[in-house]
Symmetry: C2
Subunit: 366 residues, 2 copies
Amino acid sequence: MKFSVNKDSLLKSLQKVCSIIGTRPLLPVLGNVLFDARAGKLTLCATDLEVRISTAIEAEVEVEGSTTVPARKLLALVSRFVADKVTFDVDENFHAKIRCGTGKFNLLGLSSADFPAGIEFASNKEIKIAQEDFKTMLGAISYAVSIDSSKIVLTGVLLTTSASSMTLVATDGKRLALQEKSPESITGSDGECIIPLKSVTEVKRLLEGDSKLIIRIGDKFCSFETENFNLTSKLIEGNYPNYRQVIPTSFQRVVEIPASLLLAKIEMVSQVLSNSTAYIILSFSENKLSLQASSSEVGEGEDELEVSYAFDPMEVSFNPVYLADPLKVCTADTIRLKLNDSFNPVAMECSEGFLYVIMPIRKTQA
Amino acid sequence: MKFSVNKDSLLKSLQKVCSIIGTRPLLPVLGNVLFDARAGKLTLCATDLEVRISTAIEAEVEVEGSTTVPARKLLALVSRFVADKVTFDVDENFHAKIRCGTGKFNLLGLSSADFPAGIEFASNKEIKIAQEDFKTMLGAISYAVSIDSSKIVLTGVLLTTSASSMTLVATDGKRLALQEKSPESITGSDGECIIPLKSVTEVKRLLEGDSKLIIRIGDKFCSFETENFNLTSKLIEGNYPNYRQVIPTSFQRVVEIPASLLLAKIEMVSQVLSNSTAYIILSFSENKLSLQASSSEVGEGEDELEVSYAFDPMEVSFNPVYLADPLKVCTADTIRLKLNDSFNPVAMECSEGFLYVIMPIRKTQA
């Protein structure tokens, strides 16, 4: 196997595929990147057995073939190369002789036969959407995915489709984030699947540029494909809870609040809290929102801001982190908070198709 | 106690003093910053009992007094304040009522009587030097300070003075870095002292601007003073080893090498090494330097560069980290490497007054 590639293209493609390789892979070959060179193309691939990412770049292929090369070491080397052209010459023992400028390296690889085979699956649904749109959708909800592995279905993002619309949902049982959007096209049956957080994070990282993303969903796998990469992921098996039932159907009060100012004041006032189970109190009165927090270790804090509120005064308490999370990714100037009382779920809306539902904290009387 | 200060000045001065406060201070009061407001000035001070940093800013003082306030919480708060003016009103229980814009906070402080008293010491030597010069001197040598606390004297920087010159030395027993310079003035007796690495790091961080630095040295303490801060540090007690004896008095070979190119090639070739005790081999031949490294786990690497070398070919091996460290802070285009053979100490010179001595590794024959 012998081929040459452009250094910058190689570096960029290694950065695309290598991020899923952990520092201690399950098997030695999973620490390697798969190289397959043929027909003027080098295909690179990495996997952790759950997610598989591949990408291809132009190559001058002199002798076709495939091998695997230690991914992190290769990435570290290539990122330090200065010349434009990198040549690989791989012998029958999978030793990769690498040349770039005056530098000569020999990395000990492993047979491509030991590398896990690619996943083939029958897709029963295909979604076409602008990359930027799907990236924004993922950003709007992915922080709410549960990191508690005891409820495995909540450790992924629920993707549901109807005739013309796609909905992404994430919840950890204390708050729920939902983003709905009409993609360019949906073919196949309605239904839902749960995509693991790791795959969601990788897809979000990889999306860039103007071209389209094709999402294919099968029974046990899904794939995300653009002109720049292909990511195949296992799906999480199990039934996602019926999240619709936690969303109140009506609200007695609606208040408009400047988004970035609210975020700044939440983050400032919550500095006086000393642990993560603490809460921040929002007190609404005519056209005014006061934020208060206190802890016996640090002290007290309060601030206020002008809002459009025209109902009876009320108080409601939240975990400040849960309240701040959606504001950090909100691009709208103003959010709408929809409330009934101090005990029932509160909804936050900002950009179109987005809904966030958060449970107030039933605080012990101060 | 009641005073007002400018928010940006307060933030900057808190950042100056608070970095020495660890996440788990020995005593609660050491997690606080000392505030002393009088005569149009607020003085801030923090200490970890070894190092003490203080700084002062202009203040509108309404009621003079002193107190202590939780440093990290205050810093987190002030960095989020948006208005220009911050007002402190401290009651007899050391509760600090803080106002900035519409925000109102109450931080639970501790009595300034519990805060360690300032260190007074008689100085027997005073050095005056441009801040930038001393900062450069510290940067040139401080990476070579030992982090092995079993040899306590090596965990600091040796400062020695003669009539008109000051020398800083750092060594961990495997390499030695030395920087000599004539400061603006030196008064007092010749002699030496050992400054702990933590103080060195803090001084380096704090130095900025054009004004002069005054270094005062006593028997057990030293201080660093500019118009912006005062840092007082304990000295490390004990005798620094006679480092002069490890510096060869003559060299048979001198070679000039482009500094940044050498650094880049060391870092590239050493990627094939798999642990920190590994070495990189430098092979000198006529006007050529080859670098080689290998490990049984990863593979081999080599590269070369043009140098001005006109002696018999020779090989010498180094820990690549030790060889790279001085090159990272070297500002000269070219370094001079001075060698005798493959076994004796090698010297590196770059900018004026700088000397680096490194022991080659006696490698097992490859």
